[in-house]
Symmetry: C2
Subunit: 324 residues, 2 copies
């Protein structure tokens, strides 16, 4: 028996990643002013962390080619941390120049995924991380590292926990690194595995800044979050509308959906600090902007106590029943 089902106003920190991990895989370009408007609206929802964009090559990810403009022109709310994904030292320098509050670098737990996703070997990525860490430390900017495929690789399959923990150790030992995200890049994580790995990680690094990043590809996103909370985690990445690509599972859901996670956790008594109605309003702008429906079920169904009218003819049905 656990207390995970009763939040007791415990604080959960959510980082909104839809504007980066979500939009980066959308075919339809979202206009720069629409991105800025979305980000400004998200800043008003009580979120404390927003991943704004990625400072990558415009050829590699054309959807985010406007990174500088977006990062420079959003209206920043006091207390909100605006982060950006960076692939290397050059990206880190661009992000800092655009006043990102935090950098996020990616490294995969498998060589196949690292090469496919980043076009570098793991050794090259690690070397880029070392350089970015030194730079971030000098610049006085926080640097988080997202370890992709921490719960499995879509090409290599199972990734054993020892391999993941070895990468965690190398990352945590890198000067300049201030936090780490264990990423379920393609929705392979399951709750038993999440609980075990989160416990193992926090036993090793109890004072670390740990984030969990799940995709809902196989419907286990929320259950994975609860397993991680039960193991001691309290920081998660979520994505507005549940957008976010998974090139290896076309048609499947993307990242865990921000408004669904907030809805579930706040009902359970956790404090996400988020104005759910406001967040849901922002999510409902997405389908028009990206040109298709979003995975979010809350966008379709509404909150649990959004009531529905009695069906047509109810009074007649009732009168007929009572006359029997």
């Amino acid at each position: 028996m656990t207390q995970v089902w009763d939040g007791q106003q415990r604080r959960i920190e959510l980082q909104e990643v839809g504007m980066r991990d979500g939009l980066q895989s959308e075919a339809q370009f979202v206009a720069t002013e629409d991105k800025i408007a979305l980000l400004n609206a998200l800043s008003q929802c009580g979120l404390t962390r927003i991943e704004v964009t990625a400072f990558v090559s415009a050829t590699a990810i054309p959807a985010l080619k406007d990174a500088e403009i977006v990062m420079n022109e959003i209206t920043r709310q006091p207390g909100v941390i605006y982060s950006a994904l960076v692939p290397n030292l050059k990206g880190a320098q661009r992000a800092v120049a655009a006043r990102a509050n935090e950098l996020n670098m990616v490294l995969s737990a498998t060589e196949s995924h690292n090469l496919s996703n980043l076009r570098m070997t793991q050794a090259q990525s690690f070397s880029a991380l070392t350089a970015a860490g030194a730079y971030a430390k000098d610049a006085g900017v926080a640097l988080n590292v997202s370890l992709s495929c921490a719960f499995g690789c879509p090409m290599e399959g199972e990734v054993d926990a020892d391999t993941v923990m070895d990468w965690c150790r190398r990352i945590m030992d890198t000067p300049g690194v201030t936090g780490i995200s264990l990423c379920d890049t393609t929705g392979m994580a399951y709750p038993g595995q999440v609980h075990a790995l989160t416990r193992a990680f926090l036993a090793q690094w109890p004072a670390s800044v740990l984030t969990l990043h799940f995709h809902n590809t196989r419907g286990m996103g929320l259950a994975n979050i609860l397993a991680a909370i039960d193991a001691g985690a309290y920081r998660f990445d979520t994505s507005l509308g549940g957008i976010g690509g998974c090139p290896y599972a076309p048609g499947a859901s993307g990242n865990v959906c921000s408004e669904e996670v907030v809805h579930a956790l706040q009902l359970m008594g956790y404090d996400c600090g988020v104005d759910l109605a406001a967040l849901l309003t922002v999510a409902r702008y997405l389908p028009d902007l990206i040109g298709h429906e979003v995975p979010s079920q809350l966008v379709k169904a509404g909150q649990r106590l959004d009531l529905h009218p009695l069906p047509a003819g109810f009074e007649e049905i009732k009168a007929r029943a009572l006359s029997r």
Copy 2:
């Protein structure tokens, strides 16, 4: 800290309800021979309980107007319980005549939903239940009662736990009733609530046959199942492909998806007794038969260790990386 994350081969009983709760709300009529073929295939998947159809008026639910033929012509597997939904005594008699192994009657925890869904008052439904209970007892057939809106009503909103427990008491005290299902009819249940209500129910009726029935309307289905397991439940309704209507949330997911639940629970070390690959094969027939995609994400994404090929040009990417 809980042990719910580690199944340790504990047994979970799933009742497949897709052929009834799923198909009943489909616009496209599934041919009788296709229904029989699906049910025969499901009987080979290791499921121990299958809700086959509903013995209701053909006018009310035309999708299931072939109840007698289907129930009579399926090939029954030894050890599988074939149940049928019945709205009243007449339905119970029809189901028994067609050799249903178990009857399932429905009653709502709110008057608005009972009238809307069953066109009877709760008092009339309860009176029908009493008659069906006496009949089932005489006939030596099991009778389960599904209490709709046990976690909230889409028209009346919150249904307090005392009201639900009062209905449970009346149902459990009815002669002939052999089991009860607490039904989250429109996906309003959340894990904290599920855990609390399941605990309260099992504290009162520890030896009862309790089933939980969840919809995934707001993305909480699997989390609700885990909350119920943690509170002591081990029987759940699930639906092939995740089909199943929710007229109050158009476009939203239906019942919790059988293959997703089996996938998650078996990964966690629970024993559902189900051949997941076979079940997934059957689920993949559904879109053609019902004329649209199913909510199941597993149908789209495959199992977590269904691997994907290296991307095109991988060797070139690798060679280029290594040459740097």
